[in-house]
Every structure is written in structure tokens, then in C-alpha cells.
């Protein structure tokens, strides 16, 4: 099976620069301070935010808020059943939780919430490539829904290069066949709080890959922005 046909079509019929279909909903849970559900193609992620609330003594910092992130992948979400806790699945969850915390710490205005804690929980319901990017986007939406002060949106997307053709927003088939770069962008400043890469590609392609990822992240930003405005205007017209 070819990941990129001669006519320039990918396995799911997209062109190289096209993103997958995005569906998002904010405020899906009543109990959480903020929540969001995001679908990018077949990757479905749920994010909830609790906070800012009083920090536990161990996590309390006197001048800034501490952000606690947990990443969980449902056992039914991947190809093989049974990412049970303990072993490889748990370690990857820990790694991604720590990575998410790093990314969000650079964008949340933590100085405004001293001695408090913001919990961000991300649950992957279905994983079909670009999981981590979708988690970052969902977490951003949930933070906006919770009303936490942010420096900017964090928009993430995955990108790759296959036979000199850059691709964006990979699904799981493409992830296993090609190197994948996940990048997040703050659209206003154009800076990257997140950069992750797997497999290998030549360094000369890095510049092009970063450009392509940046464009894709800006596209994601447009979509998320529209969704947030729609949600806010719907909420305000209810009241």
C-alpha cells in the first residue's frame, strides 16, 4: 500500500497539505471547570480542566500556579487492546503527561494564580495518529473553557516528509511508515513551545518541515478560534 499515490493522494484521499476533518465541542462536562472534546479525523480526545484551585501542600508554589497534567489512553483506543497500567503504556503516559505540562506551563499565565493548582486531564478515546497534537489542542480548548488566562492559543499539528513531499496531520498508517514531527505553535508570536520527533530524516529537510508544520498549526488555530467564538456567543445568547 502506498502512502502517497502518484496523483498526490494519500491513503484517506487527502492532499499532502490538507488537515483531517475537525469537530470540537466545548463545555461537555458539567462538573469540570472546563472541558473540551476534539476530533481530528478518527483521533478522538477528551480534555478536562479542574482549577485553579488550592494546591496540595507538596505542589504549592508561593508565586506561581503549578500545573498538573495526566495523559491517559483508553484500553480500547489503539490497534491492540490492553494498554494496561504498568509497563510500556504507563511509561508513555507519564512521558506525555510531563510533556504536556511543559508545553502548557509556557503558555498559561501562572503568575496570576499563586499558591494554586490547575489540573488538566486528557483522555484519548480513539487513537489514529497525531494523538499528541490533538491532546494539546484539546487541552487548550479546555483551558479556554475554564477561563484560565492564557498567553495565546497553543495549536499543535504533526508533519512529515515522504519522498520529498511534506505531509501534515498524519494518521496512524502514515505514522508507522514515515518520520513524524509534532510541533506546537503560539500563533501570535510564531514561537514553538513543543517539538517532538520520531524515526529519522535528513537535517536539510528540517527547515521545510518546520515551515509546513507552522502553516498547519495556523490552520488549526483558525478552526479552534472559530469554535471558541461560536461557543462563547452561544453561551452568552442563552443568558
Amino acid at each position: 500500500m502506498e502512502l502517497l499515490s502518484d496523483q498526490g493522494l494519500r491513503v484517506d484521499g487527502r492532499r499532502a497539505h490538507e488537515l483531517r476533518n475537525v469537530e470540537c465541542r466545548l463545555g461537555v462536562f458539567g462538573r469540570a471547570d472546563g472541558s473540551a472534546y476534539l476530533e481530528q479525523g478518527n483521533t478522538r480526545v477528551l480534555a478536562t480542566v479542574y482549577g485553579p484551585h488550592e494546591a496540595r501542600a507538596a505542589q504549592r508554589r508561593h508565586d506561581v500556579a503549578s500545573i498538573n497534567c495526566q495523559y491517559r489512553q483508553a484500553v480500547f483506543s489503539g490497534w491492540e487492546r490492553g494498554r494496561r497500567a504498568g509497563g510500556g503504556g504507563d511509561r508513555r503516559a507519564q512521558e506525555l503527561g510531563a510533556l504536556l505540562q511543559n508545553t502548557l506551563e509556557s503558555v498559561v499565565l501562572v503568575e496570576l494564580y499563586p499558591r494554586s493548582q490547575i489540573d488538566v486531564y486528557v483522555q484519548v478515546l480513539q487513537a489514529d495518529g497525531g494523538t499528541y497534537a490533538t491532546c494539546v489542542n484539546a487541552a487548550t480548548l479546555a483551558l479556554i473553557d475554564a477561563g484560565v488566562a492564557l498567553r495565546d492559543y497553543v495549536c499543535a499539528c504533526s508533519a512529515s516528509v515522504l519522498r520529498d513531499q511534506p505531509l501534515v496531520d498524519l494518521n496512524s498508517l502514515e505514522t508507522s511508515g514515515a518520520p513524524e514531527l509534532t510541533a506546537a505553535l503560539l500563533p501570535r508570536s510564531g514561537r514553538l513551545p513543543l517539538l517532538e520527533m520520531s524515526q529519522r530524516f535528513h537535517v536539510d529537510k528540517l527547515g521545510e518541515l518546520l515551515d509546513v508544520a507552522e502553516t498547519a498549526c495556523r490552520d488549526v488555530h483558525t478552526i479552534l478560534n472559530r469554535a471558541v467564538r461560536r461557543h462563547v456567543s452561544a453561551r452568552s445568547s442563552e443568558k
Binding site: 490497534w79 491492540e80 511509561r91 508513555r92 507519564q94 512521558e95 510531563a98 510533556l99 511543559n102 506551563e105 509556557s106 514531527l181 503560539l186 508570536s189 510564531g190 514561537r191 514553538l192 513551545p193 513543543l194 517539538l195 517532538e196 520527533m197 520520531s198 524515526q199 529519522r200 530524516f201 535528513h202 537535517v203 536539510d204 528540517l206 527547515g207 518546520l210 515551515d211 507552522e214
Partner: protein, 365 residues
């Protein structure tokens, strides 16, 4: 592996086992990282470091296809080689990633697994004296280079020490091989980078990767020559690793990251010096230093009784001490207590072969 003050020890073990169901004709490579309590106070309780490092090494070595895993298959669907790579951080001097990655890579390149013969449905492990142990098929040699950023990303330094790491806003780790291919990128901390900075760092990382891999290749060739001269020793021999490590550390100390690379003569001179010191401690009659598959007696002897209450002696002195001669004698610890090595400390107290080595104090933080 000694990178200035940072020490890491890597071991590779291989077992025959069943393959993963999703990949029936590939072997597996598992990475485990341990931070020993001697590395830094309270370090063994730090889980983030070990998990982060494990995942980084997995991405750098396994997902970038550094080792050809299909060559590890013995009988498809039934028996494959399962490699376990274990890295122990002995001394946290900053930049644990780079040291751990280089140690892991050296261990993988150095490792020899037993030859297997498959007759009909039967798999037979050939002992070392029957068939020469086989090295792993290493397709490319990725190394990690870390940069620490300061001042809102304005300034960065390569290969940060512990203080630089702690004071930095974030770290960018770039994994590259000598073919200028990026194997991994990893950003930690509250750092916001621009595209230009990333490209600049990757260029520097490419130069550093090239020098490190050539260093490694030289040490491996020298070890190979020695190995064929003596008996075939399967598995890991720490003496060789330490030698490579010391040479690598010397290169680092001479500022090879941003400055001009050392000429081949200078490097070989340094290696000769280290060789002379090491030759005192080499045990030619030592039995195999690692187990493969069936297990065997541990070569890590108990602490010697005639030490005067030296609690730091937890591992064989023979391999540990030579590595201290080159770098730490010239390094000065800004944090206070530092035991300075004097030449008289390095005289061997016991003859080789008895398992007792020389007494040499560990630098105390």
C-alpha cells in the same frame, strides 16, 4: 562512559523469547534507566528523570531503527532475540541524556550475541568456544546533543553542566547521526523557540555528532583488534568502555563543541596516555564479564575488606578508577568538597587477578 563529571554505565543483555504479536519477525529492544543513589542525593526517587530518559533513548535508538531488529529474528513468530539495554547513571554532573545515549550506543556496538543454529524446528545456542559471537547489525549511530537556553531563548550553551541545567529555562535535545540525519528532537522546560534557533542548534549538533561517532568508531576498532588478539570475550567489558569514555571526555574538555576538532594525532596521543594507565589494571585472565542468555556468576565482587571504611566502594575498582585520571583531576567542583586525586593514590595495591583493585576515593559532592 564519562562525559566530564557525568558518568553512565550501559549494559546489553540478550535473551531468546517470543516476538510481539504485531511484529512477528522482529526482535525487541527494551531500554531501562536507573539512577543510583550515589549519583546525587535523593536522586533514586526521581521518577521523571528516568522515565523521560528511557523514552528519549527508546525514541533515539529503537524508533530510529538504529539496530536492525529484523536481523534479531531466529524463527519467525516463535523465537526472536530480546535485547535489554540497561543504563545506570552513576554520577549526575549535568546532561544525563547525552552521556546515557553515548553509553547505550557504545554498549550496542560493542555487544556480541551467541550464534544460533536452527536445524529443523530446533534452535541451538552455540557456546562461545564453538562459534564466534555475532555483533548486532547497527545501521547508524545516533548520539544526543543537548542545548540549554537562557534569557528567553536568546542565548544557549551546548552540553550543559548541572548548574547550567538547573538555571536554564529549557533544554533542547537533538539526536543526530553522522549522516546528518535527525533521529530525535525533544524540548523540555518552559521554553519558546523560534525556527531559526532550532536550525542553528541542529547544525551544531551535526558537527558534534560527527566528532563523537568518529571517536566511538576509533575506540571500537581498537577494541576489536585487541579482542581478536586475546580470547573472544562475549558481552560487555567495562575496561573498553571506560577507555572510549575517557577519550571522549578529553575531547569534550578541549572545547571540541564549538571550537575546531582535535587532529587525529592529538586524539591518538591522548588515547595512548590513557592506554598506558589502563594497561596496569587490565586482567587478561578475567572470565567473561557479562552473561548472555543462560546467566552466570556475577563479576561484580564484594567490597574489599581491607578498605578503611570507604563506603563509596560499591563496584569493581579496576574499571572505575582509570576514568578518573584524565578529567576529574583537572576539573574543579564549584560546589565544595572535592577529593583531589594525587598520583600516589593511583598505584595499585594488589596484584591483578585477585579481584581486589586499587583504592581510590570517589569525588564527594
Amino acid at each position: 562512559m564519562l562525559l566530564a563529571r557525568e558518568r553512565a554505565l550501559a549494559t546489553v543483555r540478550a535473551e531468546l523469547g517470543t516476538p510481539r504479536p504485531s511484529r512477528p519477525n522482529e526482535g525487541t529492544l527494551q531500554v531501562a534507566v536507573d539512577v543510583t543513589p550515589t549519583a546525587a542525593p535523593g536522586a533514586d526517587r526521581s521518577n521523571d528523570l528516568t522515565v523521560g530518559l528511557e523514552r528519549l533513548l527508546e525514541r533515539c535508538l529503537r524508533e530510529s531503527r538504529c539496530v536492525d531488529q529484523e536481523s534479531l529474528c531466529v524463527v519467525a513468530d516463535e523465537k526472536v532475540w530480546q535485547l535489554r539495554l540497561h543504563v545506570e547513571l552513576l554520577d549526575l554532573g549535568g546532561n544525563a541524556c547525552d552521556a546515557a545515549a553515548l553509553a547505550a550506543l557504545a554498549a550496542l556496538c560493542h555487544f556480541r550475541r551467541p550464534h544460533v543454529s536452527v536445524t529443523g524446528g530446533e534452535v541451538r545456542l552455540c557456546p562461545a568456544d564453538e562459534a564466534e559471537p555475532v555483533p548486532l547489525a547497527v545501521l547508524h549511530k545516533p548520539v544526543l546533543v543537548t542545548f540549554a537556553f537562557f534569557g528567553d531563548g536568546q542565548h544557549f550553551v551546548a552540553d550543559p553542566t548541572e548548574i547550567e541545567e538547573r538555571a536554564s529555562e529549557g533544554l533542547l535535545t537533538v539526536g543526530m547521526n553522522s549522516y546528518r540525519e535527525i533521529c530525535t528532537l525533544h524540548l523540555t522546560g518552559k521554553l519558546l523557540l523560534s525556527k531559526q534557533q532550532v536550525l542553528e542548534c541542529t547544525e551544531l549538533a551535526a558537527a558534534r555528532a560527527r566528532s563523537l561517532t568518529s571517536q566511538l568508531r576509533r575506540a571500537l576498532t581498537a577494541d576489536e583488534a585487541e579482542r581478536t588478539a586475546l580470547h573472544p570475550f562475549p558481552g560487555l567489558a567495562r575496561v573498553e568502555l571506560e577507555r572510549m569514555a575517557t577519550a571522549a571526555a578529553s575531547v569534550r574538555l578541549s572545547g571540541a563543541v564549538r571550537g575546531p576538532a582535535l587532529t587525529a594525532e592529538q586524539i591518538s596521543e591522548m588515547e595512548k596516555e590513557v592506554d598506558e594507565k589502563l594497561s596496569v589494571f587490565r586482567h587478561k585472565d578475567m572470565a567473561a564479564a557479562a552473561e548472555i542468555g543462560q546467566g552466570g556468576a556475577s563479576q561484580w565482587g564484594p567490597p574489599s575488606e581491607d578498605e578503611e571504611g570507604d563506603q563509596d566502594e560499591m563496584w569493581p575498582r579496576t574499571a572505575e578508577t582509570p576514568a578518573k585520571t584524565a578529567p576529574t583531576a583537572s576539573d574543579s567542583d564549584s560546589e565544595g568538597e572535592q577529593t583531589v586525586l594525587h598520583p600516589e593514590d593511583l598505584e595499585p595495591h594488589a596484584e591483578p587477578g585477585t579481584g581486589k583493585g586499587l583504592r581510590c576515593p570517589m569525588p564527594v559532592r
